[in-house]
């Protein structure tokens, strides 16, 4: 008989987090807590110019006056901002590694475990990798090839040294230091991140990719990414994350700023797989991220594609400011919440210019006791003559203890603008599961297949090498969701 104890079965098939290991590398830690001295310490560690330190301090003083936002449909214990290390760097000699050979073999082994062998994979896939380990970039590949094309792809600290004029011009120009509680905190304490500059008319010759990884226990990670696409240029950027298993909540508050000038296009893809906490909801990453792109130029285009399967709490709204006439904003999202995960995610499309267009496709999947909220704003300002938006918002429920919520905000101040919003909610049916299992698929494979079908409209916007990984990830994330 197949009448096994259902809990036993669930235990057997519930997957454990595959990437839960900790690399044993000595870190250089700032003492816990946040004050002006810590900010000076970070700035000093990075050898920053005075203007940047001033900017950080300005942000910090502003942050002191702010309160944590509570409008998102997520709940978590209070965060003690004084109980966090704001700086951790893998120990190394005075100079950074010049090539992969100089990189700590343990670090490289960590990437191997994640399935990201920098050397092989980078070369095979033609992907340049700026690997961020904790807060300091440790290895950058393919720089030469990019240099030839005139593309700058470096850590943001390096960019501050080598291209201060660009950083100064654009940093905080899309997400100002005073923007919101977490973005302001990030402005004060960001330790590293990625900088990309694509010059006029250049099509970036390869997909740029950064793998983030939080390694040090109790280290909040504050990444800062800045991507600038000059007139007529194109760049595709991939961001993927995994984190080691930890029992304590870890705060992650990144800021990503994108700037697209006339006829430029930026494609930003994310696969986010940070530790979601265990089956009882203990631990897991708090992911409070501000991502925003400015379509400053005419006919410019910014496209966000995200597959969010990790984190205990996700609070994230990659947005587009459609300033240039005929500019285009896109948001394609898959968000999975299983066990006790909570996600409040969506986008903001701010239509300023004439004939601006935006497309939103959001697929939320809830399983276990997961809570999944789509929160999206479409704002048509008075100058947005002929602007259009289409929003498609679908939720899929697995089991009966999870929740799906849709909170669309629509503001239209121009009578010629058109906004469409469609939403559906469905459940994986027993009929579908049985059908697939009768054809030879395990219960897990059946769920993965059905979910991938549900997400197809988003997955097809991911670059090929990412799509395959993301499909597998969806399956892994939902392991244990059917008993």
């Amino acid at each position: 008989m197949t009448a096994a104890n259902p809990h036993e079965t669930l235990e057997q098939i519930a997957g454990d987090y595959k990437y839960g290991f900790v690399t044993d590398i000595e870190s250089e830690l700032a003492p816990k807590g946040l004050n002006e001295d810590i900010i000076r310490f970070i700035s000093d560690k990075k050898g920053e110019p005075a203007w940047l330190l001033d900017w950080r301090l300005k942000a910090y003083r502003h942050w002191l006056k702010m309160t944590e936002p509570t409008w998102a449909k997520v709940s978590y214990p209070d965060i003690d901002f004084q109980d966090i290390h704001y700086y951790a760097a893998p120990k190394r000699g005075k100079d950074g590694p010049k090539s992969l050979d100089e990189v700590d073999p343990e670090l490289l082994a960590t990437y191997e475990k994640l399935g990201i062998p920098l050397k092989e994979r980078g070369i095979l896939a033609g992907v340049a990798v700026d690997a961020v380990f904790d807060s300091v970039s440790v290895a950058t590949t393919f720089k030469d090839k990019l240099k030839e094309a005139g593309v700058i792809f470096s850590s943001i600290s390096e960019a501050v040294k080598e291209h201060p004029e660009l950083v100064k011009k654009y940093l905080g120009s899309v997400v100002p230091y005073s923007d919101n509680f977490y973005a302001t905190l990030n402005s004060a304490v960001f330790t590293d991140g990625t900088f990309v500059y694509v010059p006029k008319g250049v099509r970036c010759p390869m997909e740029l990719s950064t793998y983030f990884r939080i390694n040090e226990a109790k280290t909040g990670q504050f990444e800062r990414t800045l991507i600038i696409a000059e007139e007529g240029s194109y760049v595709s950027y991939l961001e993927g994350c995994t984190a080691p298993m930890r029992d304590e909540n870890q705060l992650h508050a990144a800021v990503v700023e994108l700037v697209a000038l006339d006829d430029a296009e930026i494609k930003y893809s994310t696969v986010q797989n940070w530790y979601p906490g265990d089956k009882q909801g203990r631990g897991g990453i708090y992911n409070f991220v501000t991502k925003r792109g400015a379509c400053r130029g005419k006919r410019s285009k910014i496209s966000w594609t995200q597959v969010e399967t990790g984190s205990a709490i996700t609070w994230k709204y990659p947005s587009c400011i459609l300033q240039g006439d005929n500019s285009v904003g896109e948001f394609y999202s898959v968000a999975v919440t299983n066990n006790f995960q909570q996600a409040d995610t969506g986008t903001k499309m701010i239509h300023i210019g004439r004939n601006t267009r935006s497309t939103i496709v959001s697929k939320g999947i809830s399983a276990g006791r997961g809570q999944n909220t789509y929160r999206g704003l479409v704002r048509m300002l008075s100058g947005a003559e002929g602007a259009r938006n289409h929003t498609q918002c679908d939720s899929l429920l697995i089991g009966d203890a999870c929740g799906a919520h849709t909170v669309p905000y629509i503001e239209v101040k121009n009578p010629t603008a058109q906004v469409e919003h469609e939403a559906t909610t469905s459940k994986i049916s027993d009929d579908q599961l049985f059908y697939c299992r009768q054809r030879g698929l395990s219960a897990e494979e059946a769920v993965a297949l059905i979910v991938n079908g549900f997400c197809k409209d988003v997955m097809l916007h991911l670059p090929m090498e990412f799509a395959v990984e993301a499909q597998k990830l969806l399956g892994v994330s939902l392991e244990g969701s059917v008993g």
């Binding site: 009929d431 049985f434 059908y435 009768q438 030879g440 297949l449 991938n452």
Partner: protein, 252 residues
């Protein structure tokens, strides 16, 4: 002939109601059996029990398939062992192409049988060949599984899956329902193509019209959860003429 399937004294309760009430049935390799019976007699329940659907666990009795205890296997293991259920109402799976579904299913089953997965090229060749025999437009294979398919297309799709998976025992639940005469001929051709000394068929049907094209060796009447009469193909004709009334009365 070796025994393919042996059902002994099978009882099943669904939602608190006893639906199968002591079914006994033996199917030998190479045989084609038909189970006929009125609505509510337990025909579909029997097919679900054999395929291992959740909620259809027998309360009594045994089912042996090629010498193995079938009831100890989960649905996917049964599929790998060679059980195929052709559904009366095939479900839709949005976003997954029929081609992708077929390949996923075939490779899952091959893997479970210890066989190597088919290469993309070999798979394509095979699926095109099989689709052709079922008069299916290859374009249809690009569409999501059963989404927007007509009744006939869905049933052909079931037959295509059967042809790809090459089961040992195919249980076909009302495969003829919703088919026009041309589609019925094509589907029957697909079923007959699978007949062979190593394979058995169990056809569940209301009407005898499918049995004109797929001629059974044995016909059973299922009424009120038991097999109440067994005969040759002529029994189907008799049922067609006289209806199920005598059996319903008899079992009551």
């Amino acid at each position: 002939m070796t025994v393919m399937l042996e059902i002994k004294n099978l009882h099943t309760t669904v939602g608190g109601r006893e639906i199968l009430n002591g079914v006994n049935l033996t199917i030998r390799a190479g045989e084609v059996h038909a189970i006929m019976g009125p609505n509510g007699s337990g025909k579909s329940t029997l097919s679900y029990v054999l395929a291992g659907r959740d909620g259809y666990t027998p309360t009594q009795g045994s089912v042996t398939f090629q010498g193995r205890d079938l009831l100890a296997l989960d649905p996917a293991e049964r599929a790998a062992a060679g059980i195929f259920l052709g559904f009366q109402y095939p479900v839709e799976i949005p976003g997954i192409s029929t081609m992708n579904f077929l390949r996923t299913a075939l490779n899952a089953v091959r893997k479970a049988r210890g066989e190597a997965e088919l290469s993309a090229a070999d798979f394509l060749k095979l699926v095109r060949e099989k689709a052709k025999t079922l008069d299916m437009d290859p374009e249809m294979l690009k569409r999501s599984v059963n989404v927007g398919f007509s009744g006939g297309e869905k049933k052909r799709n079931e037959m295509l899956q059967m042809a790809m998976l090459q089961p040992r025992l195919a249980i076909l639940d009302e495969t003829d329902s919703g088919l026009d005469i041309d589609a019925l001929k094509v589907v029957s051709h697909g079923i007959n193509a699978l007949r062979g000394p190593e394979r058995s068929l169990l056809m569940i049907t209301h009407y005898q019209r499918l049995l004109d094209y797929v001629v059974p060796d044995v016909v059973h009447v299922l009424a009120k959860g038991r097999i109440v009469k067994t005969g040759g193909k002529e029994l189907a004709l008799e049922l067609e003429r006289e209806g199920y009334a005598p059996y319903v009365g008899e079992a009551a």
